[in-house]
């Protein structure tokens, strides 16, 4: 039988108290694991938010700060269901990033697929790399 193997650099799910979210319901808030990737024309933020549906997602970019919040309702809570062994908790995902200036806020786009959120943050025009041609003599 195969032994347990895991993807590289996978950290455990982390609960957080530090995200400034006003909670109305009880429960814990978790930090989604994220990748931040830079391309020539944009930054891409990729966040694992399993169980979050499109309608339950809130993304706000304001003065260089990007907040993502995904609401997750408790699962498997029907009567007669009993947890025999629970390795992870279920709750909202929230995280705030300081992206800095230089993002064209009007062109930010986001997509959600199989519990993975991708936010595209296009760079402002003046920050795009450009090729400078050397004039012939």
């Amino acid at each position: 039988m195969a032994a347990n193997t895991m993807p590289t650099c996978e950290a455990p799910k982390r609960a957080t108290e530090t995200v400034p979210t006003e909670r109305i319901r009880g429960g814990r808030t978790y930090l989604p694991a994220v990748d931040i990737v830079e391309r020539d024309d944009r930054l891409m933020l990729v966040a694992d938010m399993p169980g979050v549906r499109r309608d339950d997602l809130e993304i706000v970019y304001e003065r260089g700060q990007l907040s993502i919040l995904g609401k997750v309702d408790p699962r498997q809570t029907a009567d007669g269901i009993e947890c025999l062994r629970c390795e992870y908790g279920v709750g909202d995902f929230a995280r705030v990033f300081q992206i800095g200036e230089g993002i064209d806020a009007s062109k930010i786009e986001a997509e959600l697929r199989e519990g993975v959120l991708t936010v595209h943050l296009p760079k402002a025009r003046e920050l795009m790399p450009r090729r400078i041609a050397v004039k012939p003599q």
């Binding site: 895991m6 990729v46 025999l84 062994r85």
Partner: protein
């Protein structure tokens, strides 16, 4: 060959809670992750077991679920970019994973149902006939 024995004790729960605490207040203090992936939650729901795992980004066709007796295996692959990208931060796992879970009771392997929705895998495993509770009538003496 080595195998991970996957049983549950209160000490493991204590350790997990301590780890959660450390992860929360001092994440830099936490040791490199060696825990199996994905984490699973196991529920008893009447005459079935429910096994749930968070596998964001994993596609249905990349998942493989096997059972033998009371052993459940979840195999899959988390997609990653093969391009040479500049990462400012990299926390998400990439690559193949295999998780072997010893179920607390025997299940009927022929009737397992699996659903994958928004990155959450849910398996419904009917308990084996022999593992279901039985009413024992005490005969009048």
């Amino acid at each position: 060959m080595f195998r991970t024995i996957d049983w549950y004790t209160p000490f493991q729960q204590l350790r997990r809670e301590m780890q959660d605490l450390i992860d929360t207040v001092a994440p830099e203090f936490a040791p490199a992750a060696v825990r199996p992936y994905p984490a699973v939650n196991i529920y008893s729901a009447g005459d079935a077991l429910l096994v749930e795992a968070e596998v964001p980004g994993v596609r249905r066709e990349d998942l493989e679920i096997l059972t033998t007796g009371n052993e459940l295996t979840i195999k899959g692959r988390r997609p990653g970019d093969d391009e040479n990208l500049t990462f400012h931060r990299r926390e998400r796992g990439v690559g193949e994973f295999t998780r072997v879970v010893t179920l607390p009771i025997d299940v009927d392997a022929d009737k397992i149902e699996a659903t994958l929705q928004d990155g959450v895998l849910t398996l419904r495993l009917p308990k084996a006939e022999s593992a279901r509770p039985r009413q024992i009538t005490v005969k009048a003496g």
